[in-house]
Symmetry: C2
Subunit: 440 residues, 2 copies
């Protein structure tokens, strides 16, 4: 009896073509991050539930996949483990656990799946990959600058040219809110509303601020600041009385000036309404936008309070998270994958005939593989036409035919399925004729 064979809700099987696209992007991300001195880290999919509890708010806790205790405790319904919800809390745990072994400046990247029981939607899955890069241990603005440069290099290496790297500062935002006399308890609510300015416009934000309990006089003062298009010079004037905000502006000016010496320069843009959802940011915040995608391809910022949570001390940290699934969606829609990524299957099919010694086909396949070629051997004797058809259906461009005639003459017949041309070459020339780049 056939059984349900679907993957679990909100999760996906990645067939070969999908995997090749994912691996292509991940390889570029990893390569660029390594060029910036970041090193790879991996943590377990499961964490002790206490490690994750209280880190993501009530909403996050509800979306967490929790694992039942095993054995005699199974019936109790108790949980002791949960699936990784992001890559930042595990990083904080690793910094505490292995601090004796880690360098003074710990620069790591991590590309692994996370799990959230969100309602599935277009481009939103319950298992999805994050590509995180974080530098731990320094408060220097060179950290922000190098992160912006690394992320820009990743996007350029993937073929993006039309992205914007938005930049803002949490303490500039809180400076605006404080100067508009919005109490600190409402800062979070106000930031969520302001963050939507480019989506819902001034009127929309005004309504949202009111709905979130912010006094209309305060709301008007905030809107006045943002409405005019705030540049850093005007921000200095508006916030002249808020020393903390002036310090934040100084940091942004440093990042922008330093970035002129890096690849991020042309892409970086101060955006005073960028707020970023997460509450843990303490300094500069960044986000990547492309014109054809609502939302962002990734974002990050400085968060000096979080990494030390397991140690009970503040440790400076700044990081960036790229959303692999969103990058893949945009790249697929724009046709940005190079041809070789599509072409991962075998380069050659070696045929097999009834009554012919299979050893000869095996030996030919071995020879070609030793030259680095990807070779599939048809596993059963079959009509040549069927073997051609199989190769074509798999996108294998060439078929190698080694019949008794070819063997007697010490040659190989090669059928090119893209052109239909058939040629005969000496055995020694076969690897090159089939596209091998000599590795010896």
């Amino acid at each position: 009896m056939p059984v349900n064979s679907r993957p679990a809700r909100g999760m996906r099987d990645f067939l070969p073509e999908d995997v090749r696209r994912r691996e292509y992007v991940i390889a570029i991300v990893s390569d660029v991050y390594q060029r910036y001195g970041f090193e790879p880290l991996e943590t377990p999919a499961l964490e002790n539930i206490e490690t994750l509890t209280g880190k993501y708010g009530d909403e996050g806790h509800a979306l967490m996949f929790k694992v039942l205790r095993r054995g005699e405790h199974e019936a109790s319904g108790e949980t002791d483990l949960a699936l990784r919800y992001d890559l930042t809390v595990p990083l904080a745990r690793v910094v505490a656990e292995h601090r004796g072994k880690l360098p003074k400046f710990f620069k790591r990247y991590q590309v692994q799946p996370v799990w959230r029981a969100d309602r599935p939607a277009r481009g939103r899955f319950r298992e999805f990959y994050q590509c995180d890069v974080d530098a731990i241990g320094s408060r220097s603005m060179l950290i922000e600058t190098e992160l912006c440069a690394a992320v820009s290099d990743v996007l350029m290496a993937l073929g993006f040219r039309d992205f914007v790297l938005k930049l803002n500062h949490r303490r500039l935002l809180t400076g605006v809110l404080s100067s508009a006399e919005i109490p600190e308890t409402l800062h979070g609510a106000a930031l969520v509303a302001i963050d939507k300015l480019d989506k819902i416009g001034i009127e929309g934000v005004r309504a949202e601020l009111a709905a979130r309990g912010i006094a209309s006089t305060s709301a008007e003062r905030v809107l006045e600041v943002f409405a005019g298009g705030l540049d850093l010079q005007r921000a200095r004037d508006v916030l002249a009385a808020v020393p903390d905000a002036l310090a934040a502006i100084g940091e942004l000016e440093d990042i922008i000036a330093l970035s002129a010496a890096t690849s991020a320069g042309p892409y970086l843009r101060f955006d005073p309404t960028l707020a970023r959802g997460l509450s843990y940011y303490t300094g500069a915040i960044m986000e990547i936008a492309v014109p054809d995608l609502p939302g962002s391809l990734g974002g990050g910022g400085r968060y000096d309070g979080l990494i030390g949570m397991f140690l009970g001390e503040d440790i400076p940290a700044c990081g960036f998270s790229l959303g692999l699934e969103r990058i893949l969606v945009v790249m697929a829609e724009r046709g940005m994958f190079p041809a070789h990524v599509q072409r991962g299957v075998a380069a050659v099919l070696v045929t097999l005939f009834e009554g012919e010694p299979a050893e000869e086909a095996l030996r030919l396949a071995s020879e070609l593989r030793a030259h680095g070629l990807r070779v599939e051997l048809y596993p059963e004797p079959d009509k040549l036409g069927k073997q051609f058809k199989y190769a074509a259906s798999r996108g294998i461009p060439r078929v190698a035919i080694l019949g008794s005639d070819e063997r007697a003459r010490g040659v190989l017949t090669i059928k090119d399925l893209t052109t239909g041309a058939q040629t005969t070459v000496g055995r020694a020339e076969a690897p090159a004729a089939l596209g091998a780049v000599d590795e010896t």
Copy 2:
């Protein structure tokens, strides 16, 4: 207050050096499998619990990590998902779910973690990677032959030369048991005992067979067959009356003869006591042994009944699973990792001085990275000695010094920390002097 920062029981954090070793092995495994025409597949970590239930026996079910239903159902203690327990059941599910899109011969490899709540022990973890390779859709012995060749190529590419690829056949084993009048219901128990012959010897197996309820006359007949060292010729004589066993011997002879034309030839050895624990095998079975590891580095075989379970039909299949963790253990103990795997960190540290423009250091780092070098920029102005010490502690072999003097002269000073030598080179020569291979 410091909090528990350990990973969950039986699970591991992989620090950069660990990840580099793992990625090195996985890259070789993937590359060889691709040369044999296998394509990558990935499936979700979580499966619907019905997908996994009843597939691994009672013991397997107890070791499965089960996930609590979410939201309002959380309090019920009910589970609806479980973590992947192996890579074979997900493959069977994928074959059923995507059969319209898969080729007639589906050859896939899959390198992903699985989770089992086994009692942790040396080399036994609760999260561990399997490297599976399977060919679906053909009963030809060329499939077994190519799998043996691919696995041998993987091990040779990793540097192994002293492995043995043991070969046996399930139907030969059941032929021996049947001819010794052991009832079919006791075959499984008998196989487990026989599988231990090289560990516990004839006396040990005799005791085990008795303990498992096998009559002593039957046990003696079985031991007689195995004790003398059974080769395929003697097996033909002993099992002359068991047609099914003779067919099995014919298949083994085919695999051995065909393998002489492949890289597996010198490593393949008929081992009549090889039994393999899993019950689902229906044909040839294989296992890799190295002298310095009890147990195996991996194993596999033909299992024609399992893949079609979601479709309700038999689909021929043959596969092999390599144990990544065991391969890593042996390679680490033997020192088999090449130097470049250890040396994944940055090739150069660019220094930063108080009062010097950081833009210059950033520009230098960008230049060097554009030449493919891995470059770390020291993020804060500091004493030169401290920056040297940091580079040395991280294993970064060279430090690039760009002080005001160097800038004025358009040169760069390079300190080689392995020799202590200090040289000065022109800016244009810097990438090559620091080890860049020109990519342009």
